[in-house]
Every structure is written in structure tokens, then in C-alpha cells.
Symmetry: C2
């Protein structure tokens, strides 16, 4: 994942990398994840070349900015499983958490679906980190008999991600609710 690991020899390089991370975080909030690279560079007070040296692809930058939150989301999985009354309840809560994360990051979900720019890496990162967590929740809920076992974690993750697309720019659309409905669709009937 590039040299995002903050370990460089030169002081200016480290300073610039941090400046870029800060600038990117700020710009992402106001202008969305797809903000022009030039804007981020400008905000950080560095040239365009510098941004590309530190983060070879846009995805690397986005990942670096959101790494902590993705990590938190991943760690919440097992935690919820331990603290919830049933595995299904844990799955519900985790889905909520994940949706919140996607929706509050202006355009993140949309960006990840955008075939255009090299966002496949981003997609891959999310999958790598969160798929196992989702799978664990899904399996637990299936094992407890609360849900059907015929949907794999990959599809559920993609489905949740997709439902979040554009959620932040449309007040008539409530992604969290639709995701809840989707998860509810997994539930065995009769209950």
C-alpha cells in the first residue's frame, strides 16, 4: 500500500505526507472523496507530484485517511457478537455501523463502485479487512438458526455497500433502513 506507512528518511517527506493526510481528510469532508487531486495538493501546500509520490493511486490516499475507521469497524464485529443478545442482533448492529461509516464519508460508497479511476484497490482493501468479519457474523447467525445460510458474506457486503450509494445527497433516501430491510430478508420466516 505505497509508503503510506509513515516511515521515511527525510523530515520534509514525513511532514508532507502528514500534511497531505490532513488536507485530504479536510477536503473529503467538504468536497467528497472524489475531490480533484489538485485541490488536495493545494490545501496541503505541496505540488501535484508530491501527492503521487506518497500515494501512487487515489485509493492509497483514501485508505490511509480512513484506515482507523475501517479498523474500528472490523474490530466491532467480534465485540458485537460477544455483547449482543443473539448473533442476528449483532449482525444488525454491525450492518448499521458499517452503513454509518459509508454514508458519513461523502461519496465513499459511490466512489467504490465507480469503475473509472483506480478504486478497485479501495474496494479490495475494504473486502480484505471486512469480509472475514462479516462472514463471522453471518455464520454465527446462521448457526443459531436465526437466518438462512444461503447468502455468502461477499454478496451481503456488496449489497450493503451498494445500498449506501448516493445516500448522503438524497434526503428522501434512508440507506440504513434499506439495509435493515435487506438483513431482515435473511431472517427465517415463521420466527
Amino acid at each position: 500500500m505505497s509508503d503510506s506507512a509513515t516511515g521515511s528518511k527525510r523530515k520534509d517527506a514525513r511532514r508532507n505526507q502528514q500534511a497531505l493526510l490532513d488536507a485530504a481528510a479536510a477536503v473529503f469532508v467538504t468536497a467528497g472523496v472524489e475531490a480533484p487531486v489538485r485541490d488536495i495538493a493545494a490545501k496541503a501546500g505541496v505540488g501535484i507530484g508530491t501527492i503521487y509520490r506518497h500515494f501512487p493511486t487515489r485509493a492509497d490516499l483514501v485508505i490511509a485517511v480512513y484506515r482507523h475507521q475501517v479498523e474500528a469497524c472490523a474490530e466491532a464485529g467480534p465485540a458485537l457478537l460477544a455483547s449482543s443478545p443473539t448473533p442476528y442482533a449483532a449482525l444488525e448492529s454491525w450492518a448499521d455501523l458499517f452503513v454509518d461509516f459509508l454514508v458519513t464519508k461523502h461519496g465513499l460508497a459511490t466512489a467504490m463502485r465507480n469503475d473509472s479511476t483506480g478504486f478497485e484497490t479501495l474496494h479490495a482493501y475494504f473486502l480484505d479487512r471486512l469480509l472475514p468479519v462479516c462472514a463471522q457474523l453471518l455464520e454465527a447467525a446462521a448457526a443459531s438458526g436465526e437466518i438462512r445460510a444461503d447468502l455468502d458474506a461477499y454478496q451481503l457486503m456488496r449489497g450493503i455497500g451498494n445500498l449506501c450509494v448516493g445516500a448522503e445527497t438524497d434526503t428522501r433516501y434512508d440507506a440504513r433502513r434499506l439495509v435493515a430491510l435487506l438483513v431482515a430478508g435473511l431472517r427465517r420466516r415463521v420466527g
Copy 2:
């Protein structure tokens, strides 16, 4: 919606418009809905200016190309309601139909979510035409007591559309199934 209504004075203008529609349809199949405008113009054997004169925005072109199929989808709603055993079954079938339409049009769903180019018009067209149909199905199924009545047609439409994003480029992802699950989530429990 522009002069898409094939009524022009000059013969060459009408010919070119048809050539553009044919070319666009062909290119959409092979290169997706987001194919470069230049490619479509080239395929039709006309200049770039011509394409913009006939279809002021990309969306107008896309709409013109798919108008028939959208129409068919709209008309299928009432028909299914009449021919299905229950309103809920009709809703299920219609969702399937709609998903098929979106998924088989290379990138249509994705394009509609793409904030970038003027695809809002496209979005608006789909909504105008299909929302009432969806609403009717939803209301019927709610009235029959098969589903909960607390999700409006707009959100369901958006949800279905979103679930179809990227479905054609990922063999591990089955949009139809997820949409079925979402619809199932509407169902009242207990059965």
C-alpha cells in the same frame, strides 16, 4: 426531451438521428452506457456536433435508446397485478423484471448513480415513468396485508437500482437475489 421525437423537416436530419440511435444502441452493448460520445458519433458516421444537436445531453440519448423497454417495464406492472396469485407475487415478479432490465444494460445502473455527467435527467425519467407503477404494486401488497406499509416506492426503487450497480461485471454478485431478499424483507413476519 430534446427533439428526440423523430419529427424533423429535413431528411438528412431524420436519417442522422436514426443512425445515432442505432449506433448508440450498438455501442452501449459492447462498450457500456458510458462509452465516449466520440465513439458513438464515429460509429454513426456523423460529427460530434450532430450528436449534441439531436441529443443535448447524454441522458437524452440513453432515454431514447431504452424508451421502449422502460415502457414495457411500466406496462408490466398492472399486467402482473392482474395475473399474479397475490399482489406480493406481482411485486416480486416486477422487481425481477426491472432488475433484469438494469443488469442487462451494461452499466446503466452505475451510470444513473454517477453524479458526474448529466445523468440526473435519466434518473428523473426512470422515476417519472416507473415510480407510479412501483407505488401501485406496493400499495396493493400492503393492502392485502402481505407486506409492511412503511416503505415508500421511491426508496424501494432506489434500493433496487442501487443493488444492481456493477452487477454485470461481477460474477460473484447476483443482484436479482439480493433484490429478492430486500423485497422479502418487506414481508410481514409470522407468515
